[in-house]
């Protein structure tokens, strides 16, 4: 038996460690460094119906224990992602979670319907929360009604289970979580980035060309953990947790708070080997804590 295995809708994960969308491209770069088949799954970069060139640069800025980004969903578009990226990824024994983005329900439906047919795409992750894109986007993730309708629309066309990726920039994240559950979501991934800003102190100008950006990294971990904990209390679909994970203790904390698996974003930039390292450290940590399997650990904070 594999102690690290986790079963989720559409996903038989050999371990709960998944690189987060946008922080791992389509895997090619990290494949130079290690064998991608080690990973629990891969969340690929957001895919939109057409090619997108994203925002002007600078697109990233460092902040205390965190970073801002405003990449602007740059991606080659649905067709090229399917033809080049997903096909290339087939050489690895790793389920792909396709991150889907768009500005209208039709965008999401178009991408979801097509990409969910790729043989190695085992689940979709709907990025309804990216704070970087000026039109649309933001509303899907902040209005429970809209979020529910979108879930329903995508569920109707997707060939694989659908995970909704929640935005933390809301008054009540539990309300949104319940809405997507009601809309038929198979799971939730959370959190996306917090909206933030950095100024160049000398000039007074925003460092990020897009003015604001999404805050990620260790700085946001307390917010992410609180949201996962709260949502886990109120929904029964599984959660993939993320936000600031960079150590094995962080992984344990998110699992304890109720996530069934975790995604690692910004930490890949600090330590490109972080995902295999966490996978390697996990069994010993389970031993230390006295848990036989990862599944046993999930949600333990709610059972104390």
């Amino acid at each position: 038996m594999n102690r690290l295995a986790i079963e989720l809708p559409g996903l038989s994960l050999k371990n709960p460690i998944i690189p987060a969308s946008g922080c791992f491209g389509f895997g090619k770069e990290y494949a130079q460094l290690y064998d991608l088949s080690q990973l629990g799954a891969i969340m690929i970069k957001a895919t939109t119906p057409e090619t997108r060139l994203g925002n002007p640069t600078p697109r990233v800025a460092e902040t205390p224990a965190g970073m801002l980004n405003a990449i602007g969903l740059q991606n080659p578009g649905l067709k090229k992602v399917m033809e080049n990226e997903l096909t290339w990824l087939e050489q690895y024994e790793v389920p792909i979670i396709a991150n889907v983005a768009g500005y209208t329900t039709e965008d999401y439906v178009t991408v979801a319907e097509a990409i969910s047919k790729a043989p190695n795409v085992h689940a979709l992750e709907l990025n309804i929360s990216c704070p970087n894109v000026k039109q649309g986007g933001i509303t899907f993730g902040t209005d429970p009604f809209v979020a529910e309708e979108l879930t329903r629309a995508v569920k109707a066309v997707s060939s694989v289970p659908v995970y909704m990726k929640l935005s933390p920039n809301v008054t009540d994240i539990v309300e949104i979580a319940k809405a997507v559950e009601a809309g038929g979501a198979d799971g939730i991934t959370m959190i996306n980035t917090l909206l933030g800003m950095r100024l160049d102190t000398k000039t007074g100008r925003p460092v990020i060309a897009n003015v604001t950006g999404g805050l990620s990294g260790p700085a946001i971990k307390p917010v992410a953990l609180r949201m996962v904990y709260d949502v886990a209390k109120h929904v029964s679909i599984p959660i993939i947790g993320m936000g600031g994970i960079s150590t094995i203790d962080d992984v344990i904390d998110f699992l304890s708070a109720g996530a069934s698996a975790v995604a690692v974003g910004t930490a890949n930039f600090v330590d490109p080997f972080i995902c295999p390292t966490l996978i390697e450290q996990l069994p010993q940590k389970l031993d230390e804590l006295g848990f036989e399997t990862v599944a046993d650990l999930v949600g333990r904070s709610h059972r104390l």
């Binding site: 922080c23 770069e29 060139l53 640069t57 990233v60 224990a65 740059q74 600090v270």
Partner: protein, 258 residues
């Protein structure tokens, strides 16, 4: 191959006001193939400052497994880096990117190397390799003022070296372009690293010449995965954009829209 390695500080030296020369040693040096490549450094084991810092490789010594960087201690990260002492470890990811090609020019020909400020360092290894090959380098190096001039002697040992400072406190006064206007253009290839405005001026000045320019962008991953460091391109190439970290930092002139 890109590797991540804890490398050891051999030497850390102030060579001009706030300008440091840092020599590290480790096996990773054996993978450094081209002048103009860079490394991505973690300056602290703590979570702040968080991101790695990209710094150019300024010279490589395979025999001793040492390589040297030259950097300005300016913000939080580079200031922490400047506090490292011999024996300390530095977490290095590299070598990254594509450097200056030295196969575009032949023995006996002349090469023009133009550096601006903290863009000067990668030209040093380049110049050494060109000289080794029998190429004759001409160096035009621009700095802000006398107190931040560095490596004049080292470059002079390799070939003609012109120093220019913006405030005229050393060498000629003005920008590198002021010096270039007065030089012959009997060189085969030009290579440059420095502020984008300088690179743009060079492209304009030598539209007919083959040139290789090293660009800077804010970086996340440093290996091509995050799309932080893209630049717009011209019609000269097919791609809509290039990434400084993995497609560059050195591009043929005319490729990046400046």
């Amino acid at each position: 191959m890109i590797r991540q390695q804890q490398m050891q500080v051999v030497q850390q030296k102030v060579i001009a006001t706030n300008i440091f020369e840092l020599t590290l040693t480790g096996q990773l040096v054996l993978d450094m193939k081209q002048p103009g490549q860079f490394v991505h450094l973690r300056v602290s084991d703590q979570m702040e400052p968080l991101l790695r810092r990209p710094i150019s490789i300024s010279s490589i010594d395979e025999a001793t497994l040492e390589f040297t960087m030259i950097y300005r201690a300016d913000g939080r990260g580079t200031t922490l880096l400047s506090e490292k002492k011999p024996g300390d470890q530095v977490d290095v990811l590299g070598p990254l990117g594509n450097g200056f090609p030295d196969d575009k020019i032949e023995a006996g020909q002349k090469a023009l190397l133009v550096g601006g400020g903290i863009g000067v360092p990668p030209l040093y290894e380049l110049s050494k390799r060109l000289v080794e090959k029998g190429v004759q380098p001409i160096h035009v190096l621009g700095f802000q003022s006398e107190d931040v001039v560095f490596y004049e002697k080292q470059f002079q040992e390799l070939g003609d070296t012109h120093i220019v400072t913006a405030d005229g406190s050393y060498g000629s006064t003005g920008f590198v372009t002021n010096v270039l206007e007065m030089l012959d253009d009997d060189f085969e290839v030009y290579y440059s690293c420095g502020p984008t405005l300088m690179l743009a001026a060079l492209e304009k000045m030598y539209p007919e010449k083959q040139g290789y320019l090293s660009f800077e962008q804010r970086m996340g991953c440093g290996i091509g995965a995050c799309f932080a460091c893209v630049c717009d391109t011209t019609e000269k190439i097919d791609a809509d954009y290039v990434k400084v970290c993995s497609d560059g930092p050195v591009f043929p002139s005319g490729v990046v829209r400046v």
